[in-house]
């Protein structure tokens, strides 16, 4: 008798979620097996990369290696986003509205939303708008963004239990996708999706953000929770967790001490640029293996590496 490898039986599948509109719209999810286990099921859509753009010049918040490729556009978020698409082939943009942070610049919501609108209009790829995780401010900003970019199928993040009603309602009213964000806990991830469902948000308008820890800074906690979400969705048929997952990686990796140390400060850690890029790439690949559908990345070199990895895994 010929050898028959054991195969996992799946009782569920990840639902598909589409971001953006027109020819460059992106659909993620649809997987009926564990990540890249195409010998057991189908994976109709490859995981995607969103390139990170800030709505303000990040200045010293970014290590030199991260600023260098964008030196000519750091003051102009729309030009920056365009460069990501036209020069680096970004399939999606993740715009971080850092200028809204009440503990820093605290730019008024109207101004923040106007910049978001400019970026959205400047590119033809889907845009994820990532707030500052301050409920009051995010509600204010996202309400304006949702309205002014009506029908663009943006993804609005992070939507937490404390602001899900307000931002969820804005998404429903203007046709955007909710990024449901919970603090590294599978039960809370499920609960938030239940609450969004009670509110009336359709299941295929939800992405899960499990909260992302960078390599060396909690990666393994995020990884475990993603595995549990994926197992619940696929092996237990848990409908409330059968959504694609997004990881906001760039911002977590590049703020670590090791990503910012110069060659003089940490000679034993090697070339600072390559070091940070590798940290970002390793974090991204780990999460792709745990079931990520969208990874948000900062450096063009990381994007190239991870894109190559995805192509090989999908071949």
């Amino acid at each position: 008798m010929a050898f028959e490898p054991t195969k996992q039986k799946y009782t569920g599948a990840i639902r598909q979620v589409t971001l953006g509109t027109g020819p460059k719209a992106v659909t993620v999810g649809g997987r009926s097996c564990f990540p890249f286990y195409t010998f057991e099921g189908s994976m109709p859509n490859a995981p995607r990369i969103a390139m990170e753009v800030w709505d303000k010049n990040p200045g010293d918040d970014w290590p030199a290696a991260a600023r260098e490729p964008f030196a000519d556009v750091l003051d102009d978020p729309a030009a920056w986003a365009k460069k990501c698409v036209e020069v680096y082939g970004a399939e999606m943009i993740a715009l971080q509205t850092r200028s809204a942070d009440p503990n820093a610049d605290n730019r008024p919501a109207e101004e923040v939303a106007a910049v978001v609108k400019k970026v959205v209009d400047a590119v033809d790829v889907p845009v994820i708008v990532w707030g500052v995780a301050n409920h009051e401010k995010d509600i204010e900003v996202m309400r304006l963004v949702a309205e002014q970019c009506s029908g663009k199928r943006l993804a609005l993040a992070p939507v937490e239990e404390g602001d899900h009603k307000q931002i969820g309602a804005s998404c429903m009213a203007y046709g955007h996708v909710v990024v449901a964000s919970s603090p590294i806990d599978v039960n809370l991830a499920k609960q938030l999706n239940v609450l969004l469902g009670n509110l009336g948000v359709r299941d295929d308008n939800i992405l899960i953000d499990p909260t992302t820890g960078a390599l060396g800074y909690g990666l393994e906690y995020t990884y475990s929770v993603m595995e549990r979400i994926t197992q619940a969705a696929l092996a237990q048929g848990d409908d409330k967790l059968a959504n694609p997952i997004i990881n906001n990686i760039g911002i977590e990796v590049w703020k670590t001490k090791e990503a910012g140390q110069s060659a003089e400060e940490a000679p034993e850690l090697g070339d600072p640029k390559m070091r940070a890029i590798m940290m970002e790439a390793v974090t991204a690949v780990s999460f792709l293996l745990a079931g990520s559908d969208i990874v948000v990345l900062r450096h063009p070199e990381t994007v190239k590496l991870v894109k190559g990895y995805i192509e090989k895994m999908m071949a």
Partner: protein, 293 residues
């Protein structure tokens, strides 16, 4: 099943305050309520209690025994307070809650259990903390029994506690603790068992805690659990413990056995029992809205 009332507890707002203020009347009222609810023991949880533990326990035991005759479970990590409680305990046989499977705890507390001929809860918490699975629980249990036997303590004095974890944190640990119950009679012949039941619902919304506790108790009961530390105000839970809800027990057993269940033929209460059993047993993932799904 024997029931140990848990409500006289330092973390309770009302009774914690009464303990701190040495308010005998409030505590005695609770003790009488516990006796009326049919508790077999009253747990006296005074917390670690620092340097006041000895004095507090010496005061508390006679205060409670002034109004009830129930045996008392001395619940503190404070060894001096345990010794003081044992000394003050004149009605029936006291219980030490608990003795962990850590050398320093066993060395200090097992001789006290022997000296006062007390019962004790043997908590399967080892030198490295919480056991990871049923086998580690088995090893800790064997270690504790060996030490107790060395001291000449009879098995009927010992209540092994395999540790209840919350369903929303470590559901898989519930399964390990249940699996341990299967090997328990062979590892510990003649010993009893007990469980800190309410921890299963720790972190769940307050109004939903009782059904988690009740379904968990049904499951423990089927696996041979002989007693539980429980909420003395949950009458329905007590009825289950006394075998007065056989239809609900049968329903939970059906879930456990994977039998098909026609939800539409069930009352709302029965449906809630089925959904809760599924969550506790890990068939579906817990979320605070589990009864609405």
């Amino acid at each position: 099943m024997k029931l140990i009332g848990e409500n006289l507890n330092i973390v309770s707002k009302k009774y914690g305050k009464a303990l701190k203020e040495r308010d005998a009347k409030t505590l005695q009222e609770l003790a009488i309520q516990m006796a009326e609810a049919g508790m077999d023991y009253i747990d006296l949880n005074i917390g670690p209690a620092g340097k006041y533990g000895e004095e507090l326990m010496s005061w508390l035991v006679p205060v409670i025994h002034e109004v009830v005759d129930l045996p008392l479970a001395l619940d503190t990590s404070n060894i001096k307070a345990i010794a003081a409680g044992l000394k003050a305990h004149k009605k029936g046989r006291a219980m030490i809650n608990s003795i962990m499977v850590r050398p320093e705890r066993m060395e200090a507390l097992l001789p006290l259990a022997k000296e006062y001929d007390a019962e004790f809860v043997g908590l399967l918490w080892g030198p490295e903390g919480m056991p990871r699975d049923e086998n580690e629980r088995g090893a800790l249990c064997a270690e504790l029994l060996f030490r107790a036997t060395e001291q000449g303590i009879a098995p009927e004095r010992i209540y092994i506690d395999p540790i209840q974890t919350p369903v929303n944190v470590q559901q898989s640990q519930i399964m390990s603790a249940l699996a341990f119950m299967k090997m328990f009679p062979d590892i510990a012949p003649g010993c009893s068992s007990t469980i800190g039941l309410s921890n299963v619902s720790n972190g769940a919304p307050d109004h939903l805690r009782p059904i988690l506790n009740r379904v968990m108790l049904i499951i423990w009961k089927r696996w041979g659990m002989q007693s539980a530390i429980v909420d003395c105000f949950d009458k329905e839970l007590h009825a289950i413990a006394r075998g007065q809800r056989p239809e609900l027990e049968a329903l939970v057993h059906k879930v456990e056995d994977g039998e098909p269940i026609d939800m539409s033929s069930l009352t709302k209460e029965e449906q809630d029992y089925v959904k809760t059993a599924r969550v506790i047993l890990g068939y579906t993932l817990y979320s605070d809205s589990w009864l609405e799904l």
